[in-house]
C-alpha cells in the first residue's frame, strides 16, 4: 500500500470527519486505533497522573507512605481529611471564601463589562480601535506586577482583610478579557435585531434585558466561568490583602499550608488539601466543559 491517506493521519492534523473512508485507505484500522488509544492514554496519564497520585497519598497513613509500594492492602485512612477539615480554621472555610469572592467578582465584572462591551461594539473608528488595543495589552499583562500598588490602595482605603473589597481588584483584572469576549459577541449579533426593537420603542435597558442578553446568554456564561476561575485561582493579591487566617481564600491558604510545614512532612494532609481544593474545579470543568472551552477559544480567535 502507498502512503497513508492524509486526512486520517494524526500528524497532519486533518479532521476525521470522513472517518471510515479515511481510515481504510492507509494503515490498517486496528493499528491506527491502537495508536490513538495509546496517544490518548498517554495524554490522560500526563494530565491526571499527578492528581491521581495526590488522591492516593491523601488516603494513605504516613507509615504506609514511607513504606513505599509494598503493602497496598493495608494502611488506608481518612484521617488526613478529618485532620484538615477539623483544623482551625477548617479547610472548607477556605473553599467557602473562594466561592464568595469568585461569585461576587464575577457578578461585579459582568455588571461593568456588559455595558462597556455593548458601548464599544456599537461604535466604530478610533475609540474602538484604541480601546481594543488597550484591552488586549492589559489582558496579557502579568498582573503580579501590580500587587504592591494595589496593596497601597488597600492600605489607604482600609480594604485589607475584607473579602468583598478583594472583589474590586479582581473585577478590574478580569475586565479586559471579559470586555473583549463580550464585545466580540455583541458585534456578532445582527444590528437589525436591535434597530427593530428601537423602532418599537424599547429603551436601552429593555433592549439589553429582552433582546440582547438573552441572545448573548452563552457568551455571557462562558465569560462568567473564566472570570470565576481567575478569581478562584488568584494568588498574589489575595496573599497581600488577606492576613487573618479565617478570611483566606484557597490559593493563599494552600501557600500557608506549604509554608507552615517546611520541616515537618504531613504529606497526607497536603494531599488531602490538594484534592479538596481540586474537586470543585473538576466538577465545574466536567459540567461546564463546553462553555469554558468556547470562552477560551473565542478569546483566541477574536484576539
Amino acid at each position: 500500500m502507498t502512503s497513508p491517506s492524509l486526512p486520517s493521519d494524526p500528524i497532519s492534523g486533518g479532521p476525521m470527519s470522513r472517518g471510515p473512508k479515511a481510515s481504510s485507505a492507509g494503515s490498517t484500522p486496528a493499528s491506527a486505533l491502537l495508536g490513538r488509544i495509546l496517544a490518548v492514554g498517554l495524554l490522560l496519564f500526563w494530565s491526571l497522573g499527578p492528581m491521581v497520585w495526590q488522591l492516593y497519598t491523601s488516603l494513605r497513613t504516613p507509615e504506609a507512605l514511607l513504606a513505599g509500594w509494598a503493602g497496598l492492602a493495608s494502611g488506608w485512612t481518612l484521617a488526613n481529611y478529618t485532620q484538615i477539615l477539623t483544623g482551625d480554621p477548617p479547610f472548607w472555610r477556605y473553599l467557602l471564601n473562594s466561592f464568595l469572592v469568585g461569585g461576587v467578582s464575577t457578578l461585579l465584572t459582568l455588571l461593568l463589562a456588559i455595558p462597556c462591551a455593548y458601548g464599544l461594539a456599537r461604535r466604530s473608528g478610533a475609540l474602538r480601535l484604541v480601546m481594543g488595543g488597550t484591552l488586549l495589552a492589559t489582558a496579557v499583562f502579568p498582573y503580579v506586577l501590580l500587587f504592591l500598588a494595589l496593596l497601597e490602595v488597600a492600605r489607604h482605603f482600609g480594604l485589607a482583610n475584607n473579602l468583598l473589597a478583594l472583589c474590586l481588584p479582581y473585577a478590574g483584572l478580569s475586565l479586559p478579557l471579559a470586555v473583549l469576549l463580550l464585545q466580540a459577541a455583541f458585534a456578532e449579533l445582527p444590528p437589525e435585531l436591535e434597530e427593530s426593537a428601537v423602532l418599537e420603542g424599547l429603551s436601552l435597558l429593555q433592549r439589553l434585558r429582552w433582546i440582547l442578553l438573552p441572545l448573548l446568554g452563552p457568551a455571557v456564561f462562558s465569560t462568567a466561568l473564566l472570570v470565576f476561575l481567575f478569581s478562584w485561582n488568584e494568588f498574589p493579591i489575595a496573599l497581600t490583602w488577606l492576613s487573618r487566617s479565617e478570611l483566606l481564600t484557597l490559593a493563599p491558604a494552600m501557600a500557608r499550608i506549604a509554608g507552615s510545614s517546611v520541616y515537618t512532612v504531613p504529606y497526607g494532609a497536603f494531599a488531602a488539601a490538594t484534592v479538596l481544593g481540586s474537586v470543585p474545579l473538576l466538577l465545574l470543568l466536567l459540567v461546564f466543559q463546553r462553555p469554558i472551552v468556547a470562552g477560551l477559544t473565542q478569546g483566541a480567535i477574536k484576539g
Partner: protein, 291 residues
C-alpha cells in the same frame, strides 16, 4: 442637544465605570511605581517616602541578584514556553481527531490549567520529594539513587519547568486546537491528491496556517511566564540558594520581607521594561517571519 453628542454621551456613560476601574487597576499602579522608584521608603526611613533621585535605579543596575533573577526568569520562560508549544501542538493534533468521548477527554486534559497554581504546586512538591516522592520511589525500585529535585540548584529549575509545562500546556493545546479547527479540510485533500506526505502536510499547511495562533499563544504565555510568581513561591520559595528565584518573587521579597518599598517598585519597573523588550522582540520576529 445634537444626536451625535447624545450618542457619544451614552457611550461614555456605558464605558466609564469599566474604564475607571481599568485606570485604577492598571494605569495608576505604573504611575505610582514611577514615583515610588524615586523614593527611599524602607525601615531605614521609618517607612516614610524620602526622595532619593535615581539612587534606586543605580542600585538596580549594579544588583547582581536582580540580573541573576532576570537570567533565571528568562531561562525558565524560554524553556517552558518552548516545551509548552511543542507539547501543546502534539496534544492539539491528538485532540483534533474524531474520537468517542472526546469532550470528556478534552475537559480532563484541561484540569491542570483550571487548578489554582498554588494547589498544584503543593502537589508537585510532594511528587518531587526526596526520597519519598513517586519519582524517586520509581528510581529506587529500579536500583538507582534518588535525586534531590528541589534541593539541588541544577535540578530545581527543571522541576519548576516541568510543573509549569504540566499546568499550562492544556491552555496552549486548546488555543492551537481552535486554530486547527479553522483550517479547511479540503486543503489536506488537495495536497493528498498531489501525493504529498503527512509530514509535508504538517509543514506546508498546518504550521503556516496556525502561525497567528502560535504567535498569540507565545505572546500571552511569555508575558505570563516572565511574571511567574505563584508556582515558584509555593514549589521552591525561590531556593535552593536563590536558583529558582524569579523577578516577581524578588520584587515581592523586597516589599514584603525586606520592607524596602522604593526598591521593590524599581525592581517591578525594571521587570516591566524587560517585558516590553521581549514583547517588542516578539513583534519584530513576527514581522520578519511574515516578510
Amino acid at each position: 442637544m445634537s444626536r451625535t453628542l447624545r450618542a457619544n454621551l451614552v457611550t461614555l456613560v456605558l464605558i466609564a465605570p469599566a474604564l475607571l476601574l481599568l485606570l485604577a487597576v492598571f494605569v495608576w499602579p505604573m504611575g505610582y511605581y514611577g514615583w515610588l522608584s524615586l523614593q527611599a521608603q524602607s525601615v531605614f526611613t521609618g517607612l516614610e517616602p524620602v526622595p532619593v533621585g535615581l539612587a534606586n535605579w543605580q542600585r538596580l543596575l549594579g544588583d547582581a541578584r536582580f540580573w541573576q533573577d532576570a537570567a533565571q526568569t528568562l531561562r525558565f520562560s524560554g524553556v517552558s514556553v518552548g516545551l509548552e508549544l511543542l507539547l501543546g501542538l502534539a496534544i492539539a493534533l491528538v485532540l483534533h481527531q474524531r474520537w468517542p468521548a472526546r469532550g470528556v477527554v478534552r475537559s480532563l486534559t484541561l484540569l491542570p490549567w483550571a487548578l489554582p497554581t498554588t494547589v498544584m504546586a503543593l502537589g508537585w512538591r510532594w511528587i518531587f520529594n526526596d526520597p519519598n516522592g513517586p519519582i524517586n520511589g520509581l528510581l529506587q525500585s529500579v536500583g538507582l539513587a534518588t535525586l534531590p529535585f528541589l534541593a539541588s540548584p541544577q535540578l530545581a529549575w527543571i522541576a519548576a519547568v516541568v510543573a509549569d509545562v504540566w499546568k499550562t500546556t492544556p491552555f496552549v493545546a486548546l488555543v492551537l486546537l481552535a486554530g486547527l479547527q479553522m483550517i479547511p479540510a479540503d486543503l489536506y485533500e488537495a495536497l493528498a491528491l498531489e501525493g504529498g506526505h503527512s509530514w509535508q502536510a504538517l509543514w506546508r499547511i498546518t504550521l503556516p496556517l496556525l502561525r497567528p495562533y502560535i504567535f498569540l499563544v507565545l505572546l500571552f504565555r511569555l508575558a505570563q511566564a516572565l511574571g511567574v510568581f505563584d508556582l515558584i513561591a509555593v514549589l521552591t520559595g525561590g531556593g535552593p540558594a536563590g536558583s529558582t528565584e524569579s523577578l516577581a518573587v524578588y520584587a515581592y521579597l523586597n516589599a514584603m520581607r525586606f520592607l524596602d518599598f522604593g526598591y521593590s517598585a524599581t525592581v517591578m519597573l525594571g521587570m516591566f521594561l524587560l517585558l516590553l523588550l521581549s514583547a517588542l522582540l516578539l513583534l519584530l520576529w513576527r514581522r520578519a517571519a511574515e516578510a
